[in-house]
């Protein structure tokens, strides 16, 4: 599970109103090298909840001195974009779980894929 994906996930446990962001508890993390595509990163940034990304990076120990708020004119800052690229796409959680911040319910991540299925009644 990449942090880009994590940024889009919200807990849907019944009754939960503050299910975002899910807390990452990783037991296995991998860092892959992926070709840098500045266009892709620039296009993704507006879709992100920036603080959730920073928080996720911190949980994985990969904060990389990313700023806590977005810098203006980031499209032209290659160094910045490369840091974002790394955190969005290169860091991957292979095993662990995502925890609902309100209910504590844990959703497993197995072989790189998060399982957000709820059981009946949840």
């Amino acid at each position: 599970m990449k942090l880009l994906t994590h940024n889009m996930l919200t807990s849907h446990v019944k009754g939960v109103t503050k299910g975002y962001p899910l807390i990452i508890k990783a037991t296995e993390v991998k860092v892959n090298e992926l070709e840098f595509n500045s266009q892709f990163v620039s296009r993704m940034i507006p879709k992100l909840e920036w603080s959730a990304l920073i928080q996720a990076a911190e949980w994985l120990g990969h904060s990389q001195d990313l700023p806590s708020t977005l810098i203006p004119d980031y499209e032209n800052d290659e160094e910045f974009l490369r840091k974002v690229h790394r955190i969005l796409l290169e860091v991957e959680v292979l095993e662990g779980c995502l925890q609902c911040p309100e209910s504590g319910r844990e959703f497993p991540i197995s072989k790189g894929v998060p399982n957000m299925l709820l059981n009946e009644g949840e």
Binding site: M1, K2, L4, T5, N7, M8, L9, T10, S11, H12, Y20, L34, N37, Q39, F40, R43, M44, K47, E49, L89, S110, K111, G112, V113, P114, N115, M116, L117, L118
Partner: protein, 232 residues
């Protein structure tokens, strides 16, 4: 022009419980291929005679950033979409079947793509974050008419069991489509005649989406239709 991607061996071994691409999958890919210029956000031929684009919508050809496939199965359709739209978009793939999610991941690797699988029921957990952001939404639903009791499995039956009129699963997704789609977003849906595609166009029409049949094909006993929807 766009070849069918290699896909992980759905229907075999570890992926025995994953839907193997069939006529419905291929028809969906054909529809996406037919719309390739539109999906790429091509600005050529803006006022050309493309029958499905009227002038008012010509200016709304924008390169997709976010693509979502509900029920990705083997991942072949998302892989195909990625070959058309290109690497500068996010491809999210959901499936209720964990084996399908792994199969999608394998297909992604085989094609050197970045498909992002999530195991979830339809689009649950991707809302509200994806609301208003999905530029291309693709769904090949379980459309076969079956008893209602057969709906709700998380294994291979989930790929075909559609319950009454074959509509029980897709009907659950319809209310979320207008929420998820971006202003220029497109929604592609596979149906068979028993699902009553005209009524589906009507139902989604009431929630502000313009729909039409973009491709149909007879495959054995099934008369398949690909429906395409966009916001008015």
């Amino acid at each position: 022009m766009y070849p069918t991607p290699l896909y992980a061996p759905a229907g075999c071994d570890a992926f025995a419980d994953v839907y193997e691409p069939a006529e419905d999958s291929f028809l969906l890919m054909d529809a996406l291929e037919k719309d390739a210029e539109r999906l790429k956000g091509s600005r050529k031929n803006k006022v050309d005679k493309q029958p499905f684009i009227n002038e008012a919508r010509c200016v709304s050809l924008i390169r997709p950033s976010v693509c979502l496939e509900v029920g990705s199965g083997s991942g072949v359709v998302s892989a195909f979409l990625a070959s058309v739209v290109g690497p500068e978009a996010l491809y999210l793939c959901t499936d209720v079947n964990p084996a399908a999610a792994q199969c999608t991941l394998q297909t992604s690797h085989r094609n050197h793509l970045q498909l992002q699988p999530v195991i979830t029921d339809l689009v649950q957990c991707l809302q509200p974050r994806l609301n208003g952001k999905v530029d291309v939404l693709v769904f090949n639903p379980p459309y076969v008419i079956t008893p209602s009791e057969e709906v709700g499995s998380r294994g291979i039956e989930a790929s075909w069991a559609g319950g009454i009129r074959g509509r029980e699963v897709m009907d659950r997704v319809f209310p979320m489509i207008p929420q998820l789609l971006s202003d220029h977003g497109l929604f592609y849906l596979v149906t068979v005649s028993e699902n009553d595609p005209e009524e589906i166009v009507d139902v989604l029409g009431k929630s502000g989406l313009n729909g039409e049949v973009c491709l149909t094909r007879q495959a054995g006993r099934e008369r398949l239709s690909i429906l395409r929807f966009s916001k008015s």
